[in-house]
Chain length 424, copies 2
């Protein structure tokens, strides 16, 4: 976990406000859930590896004593490891008071007890939009357009959203001859294609004891599936009856691709990628991931999870979401600002004025003048004048002040610009 | 802990943005610390009762096994119970990279394992500004003005900030004859004046075994001290040498009161209150509390804590802060909105348009029209048209939509207002 310095928070806040503004224009509304959830919910959530990384909160008082005596569970709550599982619980408990459909924005911290490593934090921010209650592709279309719009506004150029559908992946698995029971192992291995390459995926499947004939058939198919090798239109020809077996999936995915591409912001596009798998166990339909060529890993990911809420209440509620990797995004924006030398935070247009005052003097004239400057849009901070004024001004400039002010005898303020010294 | 519905978050976000905007114009900058801190820090923080309410996080893996075998501590981290203790730790660790003085804004959740009761939550938001590195009253003046400005902008009329100084309270205690060692007990009892009245305070002091002569002397002094009964100017006449013994405290407090009153926003004022004590053990100088006559309890509180950071690094760093009780503030704003019938959230000026589309139809014309409406400042959400359109429109209005749109054959959008039905 880490502390955030003022300049870091300024950049994060500016990005957050930009994203929120875009999402609000698409009709999403922010909601909040508490940081702590019951462990029963978190552990039974199909959250994959994340379930092993939960920070658990120690029971208190008599409950703790009883647990220690009996060797029972020492914790019954844990810190949330994502925002999707709490959202499903939120909807299950509050749906009677919520709009239907619910178009939710969530932005907030999540916690995972990961081994410390560069760029990974044990507390980090996620930024999700989700639509609960819409079964049709209208949900996907808006999620992809809103996310692409937000990322484009933040200056991520040449954005590609790759799209696939878990049911098409299922059809591929069946076509190759993998049994229904071997499918999740197939997904897990296939998901590593980017990292370990085709040979790695095939040897992992073999190592896991997958049916040899199915692996061989998949080996023949794989070159065709790989990026750029296959358009969605070619799929029925390739998989035949196995595509027909998944009903309207092919048509609805084609409609999403066509519709989104006609409405994408300039420079952004959506494309079919039959090799996209995504890690979470709870996806049931479309899955998507956003990438920008300047950066190695994906910036956002999401998909449809129509069965999660049904496990909590007596009816299935269709659900779909898109999550921006906020820490990664901030890393990109910081890097770009360092390269360009421009200030990282948008909206930093206000003049930042240090109003110098004598420690023991009457502050009233300076306060009146500050008030007037604020009314004109400046940010004004009283600062006690130091003996070494030159050094003080230099330090103020280092910390982002762009001007300083003093009050002359008559009370008239004089404002002068502060220049930040170039590096020697 | 609780979930927040969209309308609640909207109000909280609007209030947060208003407060942040005001604080930024006073030159404060937002910083962030992680939710988890070491228990050693939290427990040794002079945080009073709050230290008993810490949620502790269970150790993991081998550390937990070892602790269970040896009967050692099961936790080494806990959720923060306020934002002041983490701020001191933050400053101690990061001061070399921070502006001096640091003018920090913190807004974020804190956790306390309180017994569930009305209006109390186990996770709640605090909103603090602090100045670290300023020993003079310049810090207090800006803290009080900025907080008063923020609360006034949010519509809290007739605001009074009551101010006192712990060192004057010490002089009162000495004047009555309480020993130095009895002083914190005296503060704890005196702090309850509002709740249990003068008789309650006196009998608590007697019950705690305080010196009878001192209590009797305090009993004679109390009517003079009580609200409205004493101006700051009368203090030297009353306490004589005991005031003189606390050096320039009297003069600096008088200067703060005079300066702030000349610069307060319209309708707000600051006044001396010799009965103000505040609960935290870490205060060392000025203390203050903001109240508005329409509400029973205080809206904000703070003071100077010049010794906290010194316990972590080898030098004392003067520090002073003012904290808005965010949940209480939101309660007031919600109540006011219910009374007036006006929307609680400010900045809710945008038209909220539900763009009705056919589930299976081509979305492209609606998407193009939505984009144009958004460019004009509307919030637009695609909504799948339902069979019972009348009921759908009614529900949309209930959830805050103010207009609906449809696309005619040529692709031209038609936008119509949605009226929310009055209660029958």
């Amino acid at each position: 976990m880490r502390d955030l310095l003022p300049a870091e928070v300024e950049l994060r806040d500016a990005a957050t406000q930009e994203i929120l503004a875009v999402y609000r224009t698409f009709g999403y509304q922010r909601i909040e859930t508490p940081a702590l959830e019951s462990l029963r919910l978190l552990v039974g959530s199909d959250g994959g590896e994340n379930e092993k990384l939960i920070f658990k909160v120690l029971k208190r008082g008599e409950d703790l004593d009883a647990a220690l005596r009996s060797g029972g569970e020492l914790a019954e709550h844990g810190l949330r490891f994502d925002l999707t599982v709490p959202l499903a619980r939120y909807y299950a408990e509050n749906h009677a008071r919520l709009p239907d459909p619910l178009k939710a924005i969530q932005i907030g911290p999540v916690w995972r007890a990961e081994r410390p490593q560069k760029g990974r934090f044990r507390q980090f921010t996620q930024c999700d939009i989700d639509v609960l209650g819409v079964a049709s592709g209208v949900a996907e279309v808006e999620l992809i357009l809103a996310t692409a719009e937000a990322l484009t506004r933040l200056g991520l150029a040449d954005l590609t959203v790759r799209v696939n559908d878990r049911r098409l992946l299922g059809a591929i698995a069946r076509h190759c001859g993998f049994l229904e029971s071997a499918q999740s192992g197939f997904f897990i291995a296939f998901d590593k294609l980017d990292k370990i390459g085709p040979e790695g995926v095939l040897s992992e499947l073999r190592g896991d004891g997958a049916d040899a004939a199915a692996v061989a058939r998949f080996e023949r198919l794989l070159p065709t599936l790989q990026k750029g090798g296959l358009s969605l239109d070619a799929l029925p020809g390739l998989l035949g009856a196995d595509v027909a077996a998944v009903g309207g999936v092919f048509e609805s995915l084609a409609a999403i691709l066509r519709t989104v591409n006609q409405a994408m912001p300039a420079g952004a596009r959506v494309e079919f990628d039959p090799t996209l798998v995504r890690g979470m166990g709870y996806y049931t339909g479309t899955i998507f991931e956003a990438t920008s060529p300047a950066y190695p890993s994906s910036i956002a990911g999401g998909g449809r999870y129509d069965k999660m809420i049904g496990r909590m209440i007596n009816r299935d509620v269709p659900a779909c979401g898109f999550s921006i990797g906020f820490e990664r995004l901030i890393g990109m924006l910081t890097e770009r600002a360092q390269v360009s030398g421009a200030p990282a935070a948008a909206g930093a247009g206000a003049r930042r004025v240090a109003f110098l005052v004598d420690e023991q003097g009457d502050l009233t004239p300076a306060l009146a003048a500050s008030r007037a400057l604020r009314a004109g849009g400046d940010q004004v901070s009283l600062q006690v004048k130091r003996k070494n004024l030159g050094k003080q001004l230099e330090t103020l400039a280092t910390h982002g002040f762009t001007a300083y002010a003093t009050c002359e005898a008559g009370g008239t303020p004089i404002v002068k610009p502060l220049m930040r010294r170039g590096r020697d």
